[in-house]
């Protein structure tokens, strides 16, 4: 059994990945707060936090730059930070894309051509993996500035956690890809669109797309071609950072069948890509204890002094155990498939997390050391 503190020992970058709706954002925030409470200077890059949580941490909605979470909040929550600091940033992927274009554009003309291209404006958000890539881009930028002991990245709410891993590849393939070459070659499409030469191929393409779309696309690809070098180099360094010893991936999932299968699949892909896997965090687990049998007959009624209530408690407990047994089975399967002991379980809490107190409550489980403490915690939950 591991604690998050063990998993992050000596790490400078922690990437929380997983499919949508499993509590990644809350987990990332909790990990960052927990590490700040251990005296580190931590920044969490998040995509789309719950408004109440963001409000309670005093974070404005946009900005695309890090803000420090008021240390007073830690004091109010009764947490000693030992000089640690918590910074947070909400990622604005469109703004980041614009920044990247500004940075990599070889000259002002290219920059303006891209930023004003209608395909870029309307569709850059839809560009394969652009949001995922921009998250990494921002991560890299902040990492390169070297102002924090630890960066925690909450990955975008993709349909599929894998989108995140494949994003740099897909985006660079797109930027430097064959489509561009096709457009850029002297006899390429761009030339043909511009009216020089005409081929059957082009006239066929025109028939199914329309000439305006084609010329906008040509313009779009052409404008991007000037940035190929910068992009390629940058993507290479981002990939290096992801594979670095000081980086770790924590997979976040829920206890239901599908999120578990997704997590197993994602873990396999991490291993295949030789990316550093740290451990897995399972949220919203229903825990029934090691050897929970039925209560003694009549025991609940004696305790509660109400036969009707006792019957309903029994009914509710039966339902709870059905789910708890499923959760336990799924988690066992998860650990076996991943061949890891680093499985951290966070119970299904009675209420949603929306402030620092809530994050600290989660941290009791994330940072619990040893099986005993964990068992105790689960039993007393």
């Amino acid at each position: 059994m591991a604690s998050v503190a063990d998993l992050l020992e000596g790490k400078k970058v922690c990437i929380c990945a997983g499919s949508g709706g499993v509590g990644k954002t809350t987990t990332s925030a909790a990990i960052a707060a927990g590490m700040a409470a251990r005296g580190l200077r931590v920044a969490v890059l998040t995509i789309d936090p719950a408004k109440r949580l963001a409000d309670s941490l005093g974070l404005p909605e946009l900005g695309n730059t890090e803000r420090r979470v008021d240390p007073e909040l830690f004091k109010e929550a009764g947490v000693e930070t030992n000089g640690g600091e918590l910074w947070a940033m909400m990622l604005d992927s469109k703004a980041t894309f614009d920044e990247v274009v500004r940075k990599h554009a070889p000259d002002e003309e290219t920059r303006d051509r891209i930023l004003s291209n209608r395909i870029y404006q309307q569709l850059s958000a839809a560009l394969a993996g652009s949001q995922e890539y921009m998250a990494m881009e921002k991560l890299f930028e902040i990492w390169a500035e070297d102002r924090y002991d630890l960066l925690v990245l909450d990955t975008p709410p993709s349909r599929n956690a894998l989108d995140f891993l494949e994003a740099p590849k897909r985006l660079t393939q797109f930027i430097e890809g064959k489509a561009l070459q096709v457009f850029m070659a002297p006899t390429g499409l761009a030339a043909r669109v511009a009216g020089r030469g005409a081929s059957v191929m082009f006239s066929v393409l025109k028939r199914i797309t329309g000439v305006d779309l084609l010329s906008d696309l040509a313009e779009f690809f052409q404008a991007f071609s000037g940035m190929v070098g910068g992009f390629r180099e940058r993507a290479r360094r981002v990939n290096e950072l992801l594979g670095d010893d000081q980086t770790t991936f924590l997979v976040v999932c829920g206890p239901q069948g599908e999120p578990i299968e997704e997590a197993v699949y994602f873990h396999r892909k991490l291993v295949e890509a030789r990316l550093p896997f740290g451990g897995v965090i399972v949220n919203k687990v229903r825990y029934a204890g090691e050897a929970a049998g039925d209560p003694e007959p009549g025991e609940l009624e004696r305790l509660l002094g109400d036969a009707g209530l006792a019957a309903r408690v029994e009914e509710s407990f039966r339902d709870f155990r059905v789910m708890a047994e499923r959760d336990a089975r799924n988690i066992e399967h998860l650990a076996a498939q991943m061949r890891t002991r680093a499985v951290i379980q966070v119970p299904y809490l009675d209420s949603d997390v929306h402030d620092l107190d809530g994050l600290m409550e989660i941290n009791r489980y994330l940072f619990a050391t040893g099986a005993e403490e964990r068992e105790e915690l689960a039993a007393s939950a």
């Binding site: 499919s19 949508g20 709706g21 789309d48 719950a50 109440r52 992927s93 395909i119 309307q122 569709l123 850059s124 839809a126 949001q131 709410p157 993709s158 349909r159 797109f174 890809g177 064959k178 489509a179 096709v182 191929m201 066929v204 393409l205 025109k206 028939r207 199914i208 797309t209 329309g210 000439v211 305006d212 779309l213 696309l217 069948g257 929970a292 209560p295 003694e296 025991e299 609940l300 305790l303 509660l304 002094g305 109400d306 209530l309 408690v313 509710s316 407990f317 339902d319 709870f320 059905v322 789910m323 499923r326 089975r329 299904y348 009675d350 209420s351 949603d352 929306h354 039993a379 939950a381």
Partner: protein
């Protein structure tokens, strides 16, 4: 006698949408079952390769072909590459031209690289499924097409694609096609949208935002909000202190039982607050779906959920 079919199911297309992890696929399938049981020829479409339908019905594969799952219920997994191919086949009647295009590397790179094109042709295929006179070979007519839409990662991207393309392309076949698709998904008589949500803070906020964007930005009709996973109200408010008191004294299994009951009561209460927020923050009628206490959802559970949706 056949029961009267309510409004949502009177449409030709129902798009089931919502954030990841809210149970969209389950709800889409439950809806499909319910409609099929009422004699409607129904097809449930998943987008991209989720392979959900296949798993749930223990079928080897629900692929890009329309597969009959049971009486009146069909399924298809819409693959953008196949949709693109079909689109080109429909656009170009001359065989030599198609062959030229399919063999062309330019075409393949272009279709792979153009942002949003995959989404556009996917919606094109959905549209094709709803036609009385199907364009696809051996295509049959459906009374109801239910789409398990991609999770709305950010905003309304997927459903906004046709309008975006219509704007970008301005004139030409793609512009026309995109315009047709946009008119089709915003035709309130034929196309409806159901948003799946959960009785938790984040999903409730997201649902409210999504409904606003879908109705005002995209212009589709949001007919229903389906709130999934709602706990039963097994315990009354005045029983909570009784349970809390008993927890202090209980031991062993009895303690765990009381703890579970107390947890359920608190969750149920928090859920009721979120349901009230959901109702206050959204326009469309909200239907609640019960939390199903079962290891995995089976057909009987889906039928039960389907009944609730009707």
């Amino acid at each position: 006698m056949i029961a009267p079919v309510p409004e949502l199911f009177d449409k030709r297309l129902v798009i089931v949408t919502g954030k990841g992890g809210v149970g969209k696929s389950t709800v889409a399938l439950a809806m499909g079952l319910a409609a099929a049981q009422r004699g409607k020829r129904t097809i449930v479409c998943e987008v991209a390769s989720q392979e959900q339908l296949s798993r749930r019905f223990h079928r080897a594969e629900v692929g890009y072909h329309e597969v009959e799952l049971e009486e009146n219920l069909w399924a298809i997994s819409i693959d953008p590459d196949e949709s693109m191919r079909e689109y080109v086949l429909l656009q170009l009647k001359v065989r030599a031209m198609r062959d030229l295009l399919f063999r062309s590397r330019v075409f393949n790179y272009l279709t792979a690289a153009t942002p949003g094109l995959r989404e556009l042709v996917t919606i094109g295929k959905i549209w094709e499924l709803t036609l009385d006179d199907r364009k696809a070979k051996r295509g049959q007519k459906y009374d109801l097409v239910i789409v398990d839409a991609p999770a709305t990662g950010h905003g309304v991207g997927f459903l906004q694609t046709p309008r975006t393309f219509a704007n970008v392309a301005r004139v030409g076949p793609i512009a026309n096609q995109a315009e047709t698709l946009h008119r089709f998904i915003t035709n309130h008589k034929r196309t409806g949208v159901a948003i799946v949500s959960l009785p938790e803070e984040m999903p409730v906020n997201e649902t409210a935002t999504l409904e606003r964007e879908l109705t005002s930005t995209v212009g589709v009709a949001v007919d229903r909000i389906l709130c999934n996973g709602v706990y039963p109200e097994r315990f009354a408010a005045e029983e909570e202190p009784v349970l809390a008191g008993a927890l202090e004294r209980a031991e062993g299994a009895a303690r765990l039982a009381v703890r579970a009951a107390l947890g359920e009561r608190r969750r149920a209460t928090a859920q009721r607050e979120q349901l009230a927020r959901l109702a206050a923050m959204t326009e469309a009628p909200v239907t609640t779906l019960p939390f199903i206490f079962a290891p995995e959802l089976e057909r009987e559970h889906l039928l039960r959920l389907g009944e609730e949706i009707l």
